[in-house]
């Protein structure tokens, strides 16, 4: 059973990261998500990190990988809920999460996903 419940919200998937991220779990997350994106034919993925009190380069890398992987599977990723202290530290650390879109919360994240998916449909 996955440690991260992955919820289906219409065309989107919502993953809430709740525990202090163990390395094995990070890899498990990527695998689970890939499967679910395909199974649910999801167009967007929301990763809620509001419970994370730190984001280091390993977790940052993982988030970037999830975004890249989702894109290959034709889904957009938005990371939501980053805490101010985490954001300030990441700026200091020099980590910029390339290719990862962010939003303040799940609601805003879904708006962002809708806009992007609309934009892509129009092409």
């Amino acid at each position: 059973m996955d440690r991260f419940p992955i919820l289906k919200l219409g065309e989107y998937l919502l993953v809430t990261i709740q525990f202090d991220m163990h390395d094995r779990l990070a890899i498990a997350l990527q695998d689970d998500l890939a499967e679910k994106i395909v199974a649910a034919r999801a167009k967007g993925v929301l990763i809620d990190i509001s419970a994370l009190d730190i984001v280091d380069s390993f977790i940052g890398r993982m988030l970037a990988q999830v975004a890249a992987m989702s894109r290959v599977l034709d889904a957009e990723t938005v990371v939501v809920g980053m805490r101010p202290a985490v954001a300030i530290t990441l700026v200091e650390l020099g980590l910029s999460l390339p290719g990862v879109r962010t939003a303040l919360n799940v609601e805003r994240g879904m708006e962002l996903l809708r806009e992007h998916i609309e934009a892509r449909r129009r092409r």
């Binding site: 984001v55 280091d56 390993f58 970037a64 202290a85 650390l93 020099g94 980590l95």
Partner: protein, 134 residues
Amino acid sequence: MTTSVVDERQVRTPDDVVLVRQAVRQRAVDLGFNLVDQTKLVTAASELARNLVQHAGGGVVRIESITDAPRRGLRLVFEDQGPGIDDIALAMRDGYSTAGGLGLGLSGAKRLSNDFQIDSAPGQGTRITIARWR
């Protein structure tokens, strides 16, 4: 400068990294660091602890409360008997990494700390010391 309350831990597995983060967080809280400073300390500790696991085959971390009257601080020492670093300047450069990924471990930890010191040579292991003052 005085050192007190030394907590020494083995770091061999990814689970140990999580424990180190928690221990550092607790000590930082006890010493009265504000939230942002706590986060910087824990993040730097996470980077260096992961390095121990991924590049050195494990090692030891010492969490020390330090006093240099009137200021108080937290010092973390990461020591291993791994391969040692050949070119420290290169390793400290942003973006450098031997195992792929974003490679910000050493330089990042330095940026997040007030004090940073590294002692390493091929075949002689590595010792990295970081400290943050209140």
